[in-house]
């Protein structure tokens, strides 16, 4: 009995070590001053410092990329929360002709792999002259069929007594939605916010074609430039960039980690 317990902890501990190693190593490497020393651990404290961070912050556009990523992801998340919830609510609650068709439309585009949209969206944005603008980075991503589906499922399974009561009191549908339904839907909203934020914060293929000027890059595009082009060609400086980019996601994850697990189960098992 006891040996099994030990074996269990051994497996879990080993897996945890494998999962954490790249994070720990990246943090370590980002403080190593010289690329030459990155593979040999040393107790000589003179080898370590914040030079890489200083270099990345002063010599690259990382401040711009941060600003762009925060702004773009923020606006996208807010728009998604609003628009997806409105549509999901209508699909669940409002008597509307053609509702079934709209629901099938939502399910249908949910199954579309985003990669097929790369070329047409790029061409459309180029035609409109939106390349290297916030419009291109934000507008096509303001709604998400997964979010609509999630909100619809939430409202379908949620008792409507409170809303009915409010209706009796003469509140309009729109007022009911914003003042009663939306506040009650907080768990679904959090689940939605989480996956929309993470997807868009980490998104690479679209921003990499829609922003070509260094000051319009988002963080993933900028970090890719740092790590994969000759312009720094330094392991330790690259790792400093990676650390700066990853910290917000990790903080976001730590704050919401309970909801993360739930939302992956919601979007997974029920979706």
């Amino acid at each position: 009995m006891n040996t099994k317990r030990i074996l269990f902890y051994l497996v879990l501990g080993l897996t945890a070590f494998v999962m954490l190693l790249p994070f720990i190593w990246t943090l370590y490497a980002s403080f190593v001053k010289q690329d030459l020393n990155v593979d040999t651990f040393s107790f000589d404290l003179a080898q370590y410092g914040i030079d890489n961070f200083v270099y990345i912050i002063t010599q690259s556009h990382i401040a711009d990329w941060y600003k762009n990523s925060v702004f773009v992801t923020g606006v996208i998340t807010i728009c998604n929360l609003l628009f997806n919830s409105m549509a999901g609510y209508a699909l669940a609650r409002v008597r509307l002709p053609g509702k079934n068709i709209m629901f099938f439309f939502t399910l249908g585009i949910m199954m579309v792999p985003v990669q097929i949209l790369l070329i047409p969206i790029f061409v459309m944005m180029a035609k409109m002259g939106w390349i290297n603008t916030y419009f291109a980075l934000i507008v096509p991503f303001m709604v998400n069929p997964f979010g609509v589906f999630l909100m619809r499922q939430f409202f379908v399974g949620f008792p409507s007594e409170l809303e009915e009561a409010a209706k009796m009191d003469g509140l309009s549908r729109i007022a009911i939605f914003f003042r009663i339904a939306l506040p009650l839907a907080k768990p679904a909203l959090i689940a939605q916010a989480i996956f929309i934020f993470v997807w868009n914060w980490n998104s690479f293929p679209f921003p990499s074609i829609l922003a070509t000027e260094p000051d319009m890059f988002t963080l993933p595009v900028g970090i890719y430039q740092i790590t994969n082009t000759a312009y720094t060609s330094s392991i330790t400086k690259s790792m400093a960039g990676v650390v700066l980019m990853t910290i917000p996601t990790l903080i976001f994850f730590m704050v919401f980690q309970k909801h993360f697990m739930k939302s992956s189960i919601n979007t997974g098992v029920k979706g």
């Binding site: 954490l20 070329i119 690479f204 994969n228 996601t249």
Partner: protein, 316 residues
């Protein structure tokens, strides 16, 4: 009962005008709620699919879209004879065949261990989940250096007879580096999915089995595994879709130091990488659209299959 319904009918007749006006208002509200989603999804998801189909039949250059010529099925014909594209499909399928069973079994085992009486459950869950939410671009960049010549992990693997090479520069090593990265990224997610599946298995089933003298292994094989079948299907489907669409990690790994995407050779070239490179490196957009459509049909059919499978499950 009879009384009530006649009463409602009476009011209905009396207030007919009023009711139709509220009905109209209801429809107006519904349209207002649906409009932003339908509009944006229509323009940026639905229309682009049709547009992409159109481009795939053309000799299309984005620099001069109006000069696009119709070439019929030429792009598709060329694609199916393009050995690079076929290699990309084969690499992706190979990834699928290798990654799926490994990551499914590891997630199943981890979830079962986490579901037993263990301390620090939530710590392990958080740690296992971390790679999944980390940017694939960052992950790719870090892994390149961990698996560099003299890199930490490369040196570890030399203990098992592997060579001290930079993994991204050698065909076989590079391919398995991608395999390892995908598995490392995904297993935490599928472990969480399995955990939720496990929690839906009633405890008394195990109790009954214990009374009948079944060992832990027998319980696992005869209760856990069969009852988790829907979850396993889900994990296989989702894992399949994610692997078919894999792009960022092999892209970062193969282009390290400015090398061509998919290098060395075409050993790490995936389907989506091929599409991305053709469209945005060589600007062969008609040709790339044809590739996109073939990929689309493959992925879409798998998704529809998954949907039908779970719909049937939910109904029956």
């Amino acid at each position: 009962m009879q009384n009530v319904s006649t009463q409602t009918r009476a009011t209905n007749v009396k207030g007919k005008r009023k009711i139709s006006r509220t009905r109209l208002k209801e429809i107006g509200t519904g349209v207002f709620f649906m409009a932003p989603f339908l509009l944006i999804a229509g323009i940026f998801i639905f229309y682009p699919i049709l547009y992409s189909l159109q481009i795939s039949f053309q000799n299309f250059s984005y620099l001069n879209p109006s000069a696009a010529e119709w070439v019929g099925l030429e792009n598709y014909r060329k694609l199916l004879q393009d050995t690079t594209f076929l290699t990309a499909i084969w690499n992706t399928v190979k990834l699928l065949i290798i990654v799926l069973p490994i990551q499914t079994i590891i997630s199943l085992v981890l979830a079962n261990i986490l579901n037993s009486k263990i301390k620090g459950k939530s710590f392990f869950r958080i740690v296992f989940y971390l790679p999944y939410i980390t940017s694939p671009i960052a992950v790719g960049a870090v892994m390149v250096y961990l698996f560099n010549q003299d890199g930490l992990v490369t040196r570890f693997f030399t203990l098992f007879g592997l060579e001290n090479v930079a993994w991204y520069t050698d065909g076989d090593y590079a391919f398995y580096l991608i395999v390892l990265i995908i598995i490392w990224t995904q297993i935490g997610f599928y472990t969480v999915i399995y955990l939720s599946g496990l929690q839906s298995i009633p405890e008394d089933l195990y109790e009954a089995a214990r009374i009948d003298g079944a060992s832990r292994l027998q319980q696992f094989l005869h209760i856990t595994v069969p009852l988790l079948k829907p979850t396993t299907f889900l994990v296989l489907f989702m894992g399949g879709l994610a692997t078919l669409q894999i792009f960022e990690q092999p892209y970062v790994v193969s282009t390290t130091g400015g090398a061509l995407p998919g290098s060395p050779g075409d050993s790490t070239l995936t389907m989506v990488m091929y599409l991305y490179t053709q469209a945005f490196k060589y600007f062969e957009m008609g040709y790339a659209s044809a590739a996109a459509f073939i990929i689309f049909v493959m992925i879409f059919s798998l998704t529809v299959l998954q949907y039908l499978f779970f719909e049937r499950k939910n109904k029956g």
